[in-house]
Structures are given as structure tokens and as C-alpha cells.
């Protein structure tokens, strides 16, 4: 691995291009909001948000150039958020309907 003091001098053009991409993606996600995507609206919005975050992390935060340990730290944090979320949501989705706060089934009956 390159010494940490040999800081990669990111060209301003690269930073500007990423900014343009981020703005474009913001316009996209705003635009999609007005299109009836049904069940795909949330996944679409999340995918766009993930792409935007990846751009910020890899280019603005220079994770692309940093050492593996930093990338591992970030990846693991995100993974653990997903872990907490998935089992908590699974709870709500699989409860006996009358045990949810609303009494409304959250999972379509087979």
C-alpha cells in the first residue's frame, strides 16, 4: 500500500464531474417521485440514494484511495445497520396480525 503521506491529489475536474452526477441523480429521484412506480418506488429511491452515497464516499471521502481498513470499517457499519433493520422488519412482517399495533396484517396472506 502506498504511504499515507503520498496523498493522491484529486483533480478538481473529477470532483466537479461527481457533483454534476449527484445533482443529476437528485433530479432523477425527484422526477421519479412524480411517476407512478407502485411497489418499485421505494427500491428505486433507495438504489439512487445508494449510488449517490457511494459517489460521495468513494470520491469526495477518497475511500477509493484509502487503505483497506477504512473501507472495511465503513462496509461493516453499513452491514450491521442492515442486520438490525432486516430482523426488526422481519418481526413486523411476520407477526400474527392481531399482535401488530394496528391489527392490520402487514404481510399478504398466502
Amino acid at each position: 500500500m502506498a504511504s499515507a503521506t503520498e496523498t493522491h491529489v484529486s483533480s478538481p475536474l473529477r470532483l466537479l464531474l461527481v457533483w454534476v452526477a449527484l445533482c443529476a441523480l437528485t433530479v432523477l429521484t425527484f422526477g421519479l417521485h412524480h411517476v407512478a412506480l407502485g411497489g418499485y418506488a421505494l427500491p428505486a429511491a433507495l438504489v439512487i440514494a445508494v449510488v449517490k452515497s457511494a459517489l460521495v464516499a468513494l470520491v469526495f471521502m477518497e475511500l477509493w484511495e484509502h487503505r483497506g481498513a477504512n473501507r472495511l470499517v465503513f462496509a461493516v457499519s453499513v452491514l450491521f445497520v442492515l442486520l438490525l433493520m432486516s430482523l426488526a422488519i422481519a418481526d413486523v412482517l411476520t407477526r400474527f396480525p392481531l399482535a401488530t399495533p394496528t391489527g392490520i396484517p402487514t404481510f399478504p396472506a398466502p
Binding site: A69, V76, S77, F80, L83, L84, L87, A88, A90, D91, V92, L93, T94, R95, F96, A99, T100, P101, T102
Partner: protein, 541 residues
């Protein structure tokens, strides 16, 4: 082992006497002094939490009121839990022994961020003072778990305690970040990951848990404080909220928290066994990797605290299976430790006596853990004394034994004095016997149906409660004896030899006690961590 790291044996300035002003202690950046300050604070917390426990046990000598009323009882078990969990168990081994030993073990001059390290002491003190203030001014009666909806409605003052614990959480996070960065960046030349002592692996795993889990606790405490004081209703069923969500968020931290407590203890066990069996740890890689295994898989199991709370049966089943999985890593360690003892040359000293207690307690505590992880059995045992006995077997029986082992093993290194071995063994026996007498009756109590956190109970349970209280008194005497002979050792004890145990741990290569800068020259590691090759290479002063 290293050739050039040995510091002159001449009695001279060490980290204790290099400067003795109060200011030099309060503003120190020396990881050894910081570790020592944590040790003193933690022992103080253990004493306070222990007194609360003793009061609870005396209350249970008879059904109904014995020495206090019901509200005081509720406050006391909350205090006992909060003090023991956050003021003692979580910081004890990492902040006291981790701070003292990790730089020594990896050949570094200090931790990566010494000023942050000092900040962690002050964060701990600030949080502890605020929490204690809250406890003595109307303190909480919710139990240390602050479950909603009661914690939102209770007339007692939960908010100061929540704030206090929130601040202590920062101390934990800072410690965790410091150790991870230290281990990544300050290992001396030649010290590859697979040459690190197993205690350092344990601290590394612990630090990962500290960094990942504690923020979730911070948030959930904040939410409870807001719920209590502002009526936000996030967990309030009347507003459409769900109390089980609180439990998901709370236990996502609090289950890994118990691994923050027990993982460093396991690191201590590896070190002490290697020394007193005069043998390399069997299965070094397995023990090292299982530390990481516990750190990660411990996060997958939180729902086993919620089997009867109303979470879905799907989740309950998933958590049950995952909880069985995490037991595998502890089993790996236990088998490797026992294999280390096999055909070793055992020196039965006080630290080793505690390790014997540890092995017995972790096996039985761990097996009862697997038992309560079985959903159908937990329906009967949840919120009874069975669970109380299970976790005390691990927390007191295993972790506290390891803490005492660490205290006795590294006492000469930290203070340059030796304690009386005879009294050491006597108190170890008293503590192990006292512990059994306190908590084995509680397994029976729980199985017969005695609920936890109950002030009153039917007459037919009394004999078991009395037995448990008798045991706790014995336990208390054991601790008092330790305090006395260790204090005497500090004041009047004979000067310790350089390496009184003949240990091959690298931390024994510095002077006893070490100088502030640890090593005269940067060490170079050429051997593995616990290699017992040539007898004459073992330095015995």
C-alpha cells in the same frame, strides 16, 4: 523473543513515581496511569454495586418487607444493574487492563490517541457522577433495561441516569476506537497479527463490539429520555407505536454488551493459562478467530431476550438458532484451553485458582445459556431467577473471576509489589464456594417459578432465598479479604521480582513496574506470543 527491548533492571524511575503531583495524574497521557485510574474507579463501582446486591439479598431473607419497602427494592435492583453493567462490567477489563497492557504487549510507547484516552476517564467519571446523582435523588425503578411503557410513565427520575449512561457510552466508544487504531498502527516491527498475544486479540474483538453497538444504545437512551420527558410516543401503543421496537433497539446493543464483558475475560484466561501451565496455547489461531467470531455473531442474537415479548415466532426461531451458533465459539475456546492444560506443567497459584473457577462457571453458565436460548424452555424460565442465575454465572462466575485473575496476575507488574499467596488462595476458594452457594439455589428458585424483580414471594421459596443470601455473605467476605491483603501488599508488601511468574508474555520484558516510555528502544519481535522453547531464555530476576 526480542533481543533489544529489555530495560535496565536498576530500581529507578517508573511510571508510578516519575512524577507524583496530583496534576501529573489528572493530566497524564500515560496509558498505564490511565489504566490504573480506571482500575481504582472500577473497583469502587464494584463495591457500590456489590453493596446494593447484598442489600437486595438481605431483603429476600423473608417474604414481604424485611429491611426496606417495595419502591426502595425496585430502585435498588435498578441501581445494582446500572452500576454493575455500565460502571463496572463493561469498562473493567478493557479500560483497566487493556489500557495498561495492550501497548506493552505490542511493543508500543502508548496508545494511538493518548489525549482521547485521558478524555475517556473523564467521560466515565462525569457519566458516573450524573448517574449516581440521579440514583440518589429519586432514582429509577424501571430495572436497568428501562422497558417501555413503564419507563415513559414512571414517576421516578430516569432522565439523569439515562444521561449518565449516555456519557459513559462515549467513554466506551473512545476506548474502542483507540484500541482498534492502536492495534492496527502501533504494532512494533515483526509483530504480525498471528504473533499477537491472545489478550490483544480479545481486546480487538471487544473494541469492534464497543464501536458498533454503543451508538445504538446512545440513541435508544435518548429516545427513552425524550419519550419520558416530552411524551413523544414513539413506543406508545396509544399513539400507534410499538414497545417491542424499543426492545429491538435496546437488545441490539445489550446483547453484544455482554460480549464486551466476557470477551476480554477470555483473553485474560488465555494469558494466565499459558503462563501457569507453562505451555503455548493449544489452537492459537482457533482462539484468535473465535474472538472475532464472538464479536460478530454476538450481534445476530439479540431477540433471544424477547421470546415472550410479542415479537413474531419467525424472528424467535431465527434468534434461537443464531444464539446456539454463538455458543460454538465459546466452546472452541474452552476445548482449546483444556487442551493447553493437558500435559502442561501446572503451577497452582492464585491467578490459576480463579481460572479454574472460570472454566467451571463458563461451561455451566454457557450451557444454561443454550438452555434458555431454546424458545420453548424460555417460555417457562423467562423473567425468573433461572435467567438471573444464568447471567450471573457468566458475569460474576466467569468475567469477575477473570478480572480477579488479571488483578492477581498483573499486580506485581503494575505495582512492583507481591501479595500474600496464602491469603490469595483462601479468598479464591471462599469466592468460588460463596458464588456457588449464592447462585445455584437461584436456578432452582427460577425453575420453581420465582420471578425476578419481585419484592414479595410465597413462603415455600424462602429456604432457597436464605441459602442464596448466606452464599452472598460468604462471597462478600471473600471480596473484603482480597481488598485487605491487596491494600496491605501495596503499603507493606515485599518488592516483586522482575518476572515473578516466569511468564513468557512480552509485557514482562519491561521493568516491573514499567517506566513511562515502556521500552528504551523500539522492540523487534522475532518469535510468536507464547513460545516456551529454551528454559534459560526465561528471565527470572
Amino acid at each position: 523473543m526480542s533481543q533489544s527491548a529489555v530495560v535496565s533492571r536498576r530500581a529507578g524511575k517508573n511510571y508510578l513515581n516519575v512524577e507524583t503531583s496530583v496534576k501529573s495524574w489528572l493530566l497524564t497521557r500515560d496509558h498505564k496511569r490511565i489504566g490504573l485510574m480506571f482500575l481504582v474507579l472500577n473497583v469502587g463501582a464494584l463495591f457500590v454495586g456489590g453493596v446494593f446486591a447484598l442489600l437486595l439479598r438481605f431483603e429476600h431473607l423473608s417474604p414481604g418487607p424485611t429491611i426496606m419497602d417495595a419502591i426502595t427494592y425496585n430502585r435498588l435492583f435498578t441501581l445494582h444493574g446500572v452500576v454493575m453493567v455500565w460502571l463496572f462490567m463493561i469498562p473493567a477489563i478493557p479500560s483497566a487492563f487493556g489500557n495498561f497492557l495492550v501497548p506493552l504487549m505490542i511493543g508500543a510507547e502508548d496508545v494511538a490517541f493518548p489525549r482521547l484516552n485521558l478524555a475517556s476517564v473523564y467521560l466515565y467519571v462525569a457519566g458516573a457522577l450524573i448517574a449516581l446523582w440521579g440514583m440518589f435523588h429519586g432514582g429509577a425503578d424501571t430495572g436497568w433495561t428501562f422497558y417501555t411503557p413503564y419507563s415513559s410513565m414512571t414517576p421516578t427520575k430516569v432522565v439523569p441516569i439515562l444521561i449518565g449512561v449516555f456519557i459513559i457510552g462515549f467513554s466506551t466508544i473512545v476506548t474502542g476506537i483507540n484500541f482498534i487504531v492502536t492495534i492496527h498502527t502501533l504494532r512494533a516491527k515483526g509483530l504480525t497479527w498471528m504473533r499477537m498475544p491472545l489478550f490483544v486479540w480479545a481486546i480487538y474483538g471487544t473494541s469492534i463490539i464497543q464501536v458498533l453497538a454503543t451508538p445504538v444504545l446512545g440513541l435508544v437512551l435518548l429516545l427513552i429520555a425524550l419519550e419520558h420527558s416530552l411524551g413523544l410516543g414513539i413506543f406508545d401503543a396509544a399513539r400507534g407505536g410499538d414497545p417491542v421496537l424499543f426492545q429491538h433497539l435496546f437488545w441490539f446493543y445489550s446483547h453484544p454488551a455482554v460480549y464486551i464483558m466476557v470477551l476480554p475475560a477470555m483473553g485474560v484466561v488465555s494469558e494466565v493459562i499459558a503462563c501457569f501451565a507453562r505451555k503455548n496455547p493449544f489452537g492459537y489461531k482457533a482462539i484468535a478467530y473465535s474472538s472475532l467470531g464472538i464479536a460478530f455473531v454476538g450481534f445476530f442474537t439479540w431477540g433471544h431476550h424477547m421470546f415472550v415479548s410479542g415479537q413474531s415466532t419467525f424472528d424467535a426461531g431465527a434468534f434461537a438458532v443464531l444464539s446456539m451458533l454463538v455458543g460454538v465459539f465459546t466452546a472452541i475456546k474452552v476445548f482449546n484451553w483444556v487442551a493447553t492444560l493437558y500435559k502442561g506443567s501446572i503451577q497452582f497459584r492464585t491467578p490459576f485458582a480463579y481460572i479454574c473457577g472460570f472454566l467451571y462457571f463458563i461451561v455451566f453458565g454457557g450451557m444454561t445459556g443454550v438452555a434458555v436460548a431454546t424458545v420453548s424452555l424460555d417460555v417457562h424460565w423467562h423473567d425468573t431467577y433461572f435467567v438471573v442465575a444464568h447471567f450471573h454465572f457468566i458475569m460474576v462466575g466467569a468475567t469477575l473471576m477473570a478480572f480477579l485473575a488479571a488483578l492477581h496476575y498483573w499486580f506485581p507488574k503494575m505495582f512492583g509489589k507481591m501479595y500474600n499467596e496464602g491469603w490469595g488462595l483462601v479468598s479464591a476458594v471462599l469466592i468460588i464456594l460463596g458464588f456457588n452457594a449464592t447462585f445455584i439455589p437461584q436456578f432452582w428458585l427460577g425453575n420453581f417459578g420465582m420471578p425476578r424483580r419481585y419484592y414479595n414471594y410465597p413462603e415455600r421459596f424462602q429456604w432457597l432465598h436464605v441459602a442464596s443470601t448466606a452464599g452472598s455473605t460468604l462471597l462478600f467476605f471473600g471480596f473484603m479479604i482480597i481488598l485487605i491483603y491487596l491494600f496491605i501488599a501495596l503499603r507493606f508488601g515485599r518488592r516483586a521480582e522482575w518476572n515473578p511468574w516466569g511468564s513468557r508474555g512480552f509485557e514482562w520484558r519491561t521493568a516491573t513496574p514499567p517506566p513511562t516510555h515502556n521500552f528504551d528502544q523500539a522492540p523487534v519481535f522475532t518469535h510468536g506470543p507464547h513460545e516456551y522453547h529454551e528454559p534459560h531464555e526465561v528471565d527470572l530476576a
